[in-house]
Symmetry: C2
Subunit: 442 residues, 2 copies
Amino acid sequence: MDVKVDSLKTWRRTHYTDEIKGEMDGEEVTVMGWINSIRKLGKLVFVILRDREGMIQIVIPKQKVSEEVFKIGKSLGREDVVAVKGKVVANEKAPGGCEIVPMEIKVLSKAHSPLPLDPSEKVPADLDTRLDNRFLDLRRPKITALFKVKSEMLKSVRNTFYDEGFIEVNTPKLVASATEGGTELFPLSYFEKEAFLSQSPQLYKQMLMAAGFDRVFEIGPIFRAEEHNTRRHLNEAVSIDCEMSFADDRDAMEILEKVVHNTLLHLKDHCKKELEILDVDLKIQDTPFPRLTYDEVVDIVNTKGVDMEWGEDLSRAGEKALGEYMEGFYFIINWPRDIRPFYTLPKEEDPKLCKAFDLMYRDLEIASGAQRNHIYDLLVDSIKRMGLNPESFESYLQAFKYGMPPHAGWGLGAERFMMVLGRQKNIRECILFPRDRHRLTP
Amino acid sequence: MDVKVDSLKTWRRTHYTDEIKGEMDGEEVTVMGWINSIRKLGKLVFVILRDREGMIQIVIPKQKVSEEVFKIGKSLGREDVVAVKGKVVANEKAPGGCEIVPMEIKVLSKAHSPLPLDPSEKVPADLDTRLDNRFLDLRRPKITALFKVKSEMLKSVRNTFYDEGFIEVNTPKLVASATEGGTELFPLSYFEKEAFLSQSPQLYKQMLMAAGFDRVFEIGPIFRAEEHNTRRHLNEAVSIDCEMSFADDRDAMEILEKVVHNTLLHLKDHCKKELEILDVDLKIQDTPFPRLTYDEVVDIVNTKGVDMEWGEDLSRAGEKALGEYMEGFYFIINWPRDIRPFYTLPKEEDPKLCKAFDLMYRDLEIASGAQRNHIYDLLVDSIKRMGLNPESFESYLQAFKYGMPPHAGWGLGAERFMMVLGRQKNIRECILFPRDRHRLTP
């Protein structure tokens, strides 16, 4: 690194690469980005410059640029960061129909070589190498595109919540007790006390219903100390949560359908370029989504040759069998009470069942929700029934004693949703810096 | 609790209380909420019903309602949750110019009595009692209003980021190493490894600049194991973070000014009712905000009788002295390099100083940022200079070797910003469920 790099000083980007068009022939522009590839001929240097929005060709002909500019052009290497001030030249042969002939070039950062990973996508790499060098991996247009879609997905989800009168809340991630029992929690010491990382905002969302917040949503991290390492699990993920008062399970499902449907529409509209890069043709599925009862699910799964007894949770094999049978998004409703969390409301007309639902996409569960149990005595019973101690839920239970409205809600896994939207097979692809059983860096 | 409560069944709210006006005289409506207060006369019951948006009077005259409805009316107690189907009656004497005469009432939840805290604001309570019973405390209109403003603040902040081309990102909260050294971190065990809770997304935001994401923002939790318990510190808070490439400290300050200014405008427009409840008259401060140099700060503080030597950080006494001198929002710039984090870029023309800035509101620091050090060799030097070991920053430093653009960014404390916007003196007022040295519940 004996090369001294230039300072930005007063230079600023005038255009992203995708904003430069043949019609701008003769216009002066400043672009900034990375050297995606470079071809050096005797008296001519071709550079493909990459920024977040695309790529553009920079042509450096010895006879048309200053000696200094040509010298810099010759010295450039792959993944160097440069700023180029130059003139747009319409050229039908150039990718995108135009190129830039530089008047000045600043080298803002030199890249070591060899690169531990090739961002130009010519050399494939396995997932672990990619994740170890995530900052390089993320330079690949397909990977960048996925996270631009994720940002737009979150924006769209929030817009639906705003439209439906939800207030955004932030609940604590450091908690004194477990949401659903003591397993799968990361413990830590909080000064003199023991604390845990929150595995769900569930209990806090519900307390906010007691607080009269009526409709709340939160998009934030959740932490699960699950030992199993699958393509569908992360130990730290982003959860999209909501809770609504004076509402039942069907109301909550309707909001969830709106969130999903509006997101599909929004992405189709606002992420055309990114979906094209990802080679994803999003289908807009109309609402309401199909509802399968748990009983129907048991039948289907058994018909497909996978054993499932009434009262069992869906196994992975069961999900796969179901995924062969069902297309697109669908709900599973009327679950047996005993395989759902204590805070789920049993059905009045058949207390073996409860008002829980899952949203599935083919064989993947992406969201889970229910009308909640808002009746103090019934809730204490349910906690005991699950073998848990009501005393460890004291500050939560307190909220049910002084006027708790009926309420319902759900949690949607942001990364699982992205697996569906981006057609990704491994959930690690859908999070910038995954945390799993073995990975804690970068 | 021998009272059996009603089910919601097909009933749904038709209006929030603040949507019901005198002009709707004779219209049938359904409202749902809590009994804020109740007055029982012989043949007449007056109820004030409260929901998230306001209050309305329900009048239950024995002669005008069914026997059943009157009986229910008589049985109601404070903070019971009810649904009322009734007719709007214009009445100039009623608060808000109208009231509801019920045709049917459902009691959805009965409240135990006495209440551990009075949500009707008649009886004051100390902060600890309030936080212990936060779900009741949050029912008070002033407290609800503050969190509605917080939700709108976050919405406005995101809108500015979207308008300015920022992508929303989610970085891990479980990290392998410390951002700025090993102090003030909560350690935990992550399977076989040691992990920490992230005290800032700093290093990840920067890696995303190496990834070419160009402009990113994140709004998420940060964790600091600070022992001191002040009115301005939390151990878990929400941080509004951004980072931008091909930009310097002045660009970052401009974005921060826009975020603050747009939020002021947005709240003034969209939170009229809430600001009135909070008795806050928001002043729209024009940009650019004043810039004080560190040198000027030292002078001012000393002039005000507080000792401060060049090279020292601002003490609390110094901040207070400064707050007496300065009104509104202002920046402090040109900080000595040695009291800022290693990732701050020194000034080329005077390497004793650096390109850091703080955004202050009177005596309160609400944001902190800088142009970052993007030059590998210089960064390694700075890490060593601070007495830290470059090896513990390996995966971070890696990102500076293969093309790192110049970049800048900042972090704005969401709760500190709310202290300013909501005129709150204790930061615990600005977070739903505060975490401090002593508090981990609810």
